[in-house]
């Protein structure tokens, strides 16, 4: 008893000593290492600050240049080259809204359908299914202007011969963002665990009933996020629209199938931006503010949706 009583403080002392020695050895890294580590971390931080500064500068510059032109006239007046003080974006905004409506109508059924096929039905060992898969990945990275060429040669002229109508522009944008929707929807569908499907099938549901009542509801948030991001991409896309007819200064409200031409928000901004006069530059910047506000709202909503409903199984 007495022996143990004497050993306890000695043990404690020994432990404390060992701990102190270990700490001291680990803390005293060579000076060179400490300096190099700090410098490297500083450089990394600098890199991220430069990227964020670029984003900030872009927003601030748009406001500095465009705030003078920001007014309700922007939304109610049609564009004009002769009177920049009265020019607005009315027809371009309407054009963009109609374009986007077409994109949504096309992309949601086709995108989800293709994703369901690849995740739930396709036999991955078949070469044609692998072809579809690689093909979609490739399409997602094809330059947007190539889709403009496709729209020009295939939809506006050539086999479909639709002419320079808004619907052709809408279809072009839809084909452009379709791969994005498919990829996002596939990820959302893949995240639904197999046990859910097996449970449903074991209870006697058919394959489609399982998909319709179990898989799809569970993957809606992920799919919605993908669709919103794709639509916001389509909203900001300019290059393909230049080729399928959205270049003119349209003074009347566009309709989907009218051959009189149409405009879109980013194309109108581009048209103002290439004019050197201050007034047009201010109009371009004001248009960018409007578009960024809409896109930021959409993207933030998509990111929030993803974080809020991200399901852990």
């Amino acid at each position: 008893m007495a022996g143990l009583g004497a050993a306890a403080p000695r043990n404690r002392l020994a432990t404390a000593g060992a701990r102190a020695t270990t700490r001291a050895m680990l803390r005293d890294q060579p000076r060179g290492d400490v300096i190099r580590n700090t410098a490297f971390a500083g450089l990394l931080l600098l890199a991220i600050l430069i990227a964020l500064a670029g984003l900030m500068a872009l927003l601030i510059q748009a406001f500095a240049k465009g705030s003078s032109a920001l007014s309700l006239d922007l939304f109610t007046n049609p564009p004009s080259t002769a009177f920049p003080e009265k020019a607005g974006f009315r027809t371009a905004i309407l054009g963009s809204l109609e374009l986007i409506a077409g994109v949504i109508l096309f992309v949601i059924p086709v995108g989800i359908g293709a994703a369901l096929y690849l995740e739930e039905y396709a036999d991955k060992t078949r070469w044609w299914n692998r072809l579809i898969e690689v093909n979609i990945q490739n399409l997602a990275a094809v330059p947007s202007i190539i889709y403009g060429i496709l729209g020009l040669a295939f939809l506006v002229r050539g086999p479909f011969d639709l002419g320079f109508i808004l619907a052709a522009g809408s279809l072009t944008l839809a084909l452009l963002v379709l791969p994005m929707v498919i990829i996002a929807a596939r990820e959302a569908i893949r995240a639904v665990p197999d046990s859910i499907r097996q449970g449903s099938l074991a209870l006697g549901a058919t394959k489609w009933q399982t998909i319709r009542r179990q898989v799809l509801p569970a993957s809606v948030p992920g799919i919605a996020t993908g669709v919103i991001l794709a639509v916001s991409r389509a909203l900001g896309e300019t290059a393909p629209l230049l080729l399928v007819g959205a270049t003119v200064f349209v003074t009347f409200d566009p309709t989907p199938f009218s051959p009189d031409g149409y405009s879109a928000m980013p194309v109108q901004i581009f048209n103002y931006a290439v004019r050197p006069q201050e007034e047009f530059q201010a109009l371009a910047a004001a248009g960018i503010i409007v578009m960024l506000a809409v896109l930021l709202a959409m993207n933030s909503f998509a990111i929030w949706l993803r974080n809020r409903y991200e399901q852990r199984w």
Partner: protein, 314 residues
Amino acid sequence: MEPAGGPPRRLQAPGPRYGEKAIHGLLALCGILSVLTTTAIVISLVGPTIGFFEIVPVGDFFFGTDWTPQFEPPSFGVLAIVAGTFNVALWGMLFAIPIGLGAAIYLSEYAAPRVRKTVKPILEILAGIPTVAIGFFAASFILPEIIQPLWPGELFGGAVGKPFLALAGGLGVGLMIVPIIASISEDAMSAVPHGLREGAYAMGATKLKVATRVVFPAALSGIVASIVLAISRAVGETMIVLLAAGSTPNFTLNPVEPIQAMTAYIGVTATGDISTGSLDYKSVFAVGTLLFAITLVMNMISIRLVRRYREVYE
């Protein structure tokens, strides 16, 4: 001997279930549509391109350095606008690779979880900014407020007094692709198993060594994939180069010259009422075919590389 309760119940469906089969077919059709899109792209590119090469010799196109379609006789030396494209892409990558990789390493290895949770969505917002806005920013801010005042005097001919600069397009494109490099590389580095890091720390490695000698090499295929994809994006970008780098074909890699990129040529030529079948119309498709081929090769490389790091760690 029959089991109790009569003969065993058949487990097959009672009917042929035509509805299920129809749905299967309908969904397959949606998948096939993507293949049809690619086919349509190739078909729409190939026809006029063949027509183009019936008039312009292949050698003149691929090895000529004068791109003057509006002259009489016109010259279609595509190297002039290929150089323009890679001029912009080169300076864009020189900006975006260090910034994007730095951001990726910081987010994956150094940042506190809270910082990471705020900075990643902000980078995603940067990725969602329309290119026409970045182009406007490059032309009306980066060019007059950053490049022209900071460019050292007459180096490479000087930057002052020029309305368009390849470097302005390059920096704009760089800003656009930073989030691509940062987010794909960060994914690749986060996928490196923690055991590798802990093993290195146990051997006495510093944080710097773990990040640069363990995590970075382990994630290399994902990092290279992000860079290849970013180059492909830079090569295919239209609006930024059109607004900031100009429409002057110029066979040079000089950053302080106006240039014309392949995409910009397509963008300014194929607008409005270009007449079908004219040589200009066909030249758009020839340039488009070349652009499609270049980006296709890069995308395939990138897809392969991404698949490789997924196979190893996931």
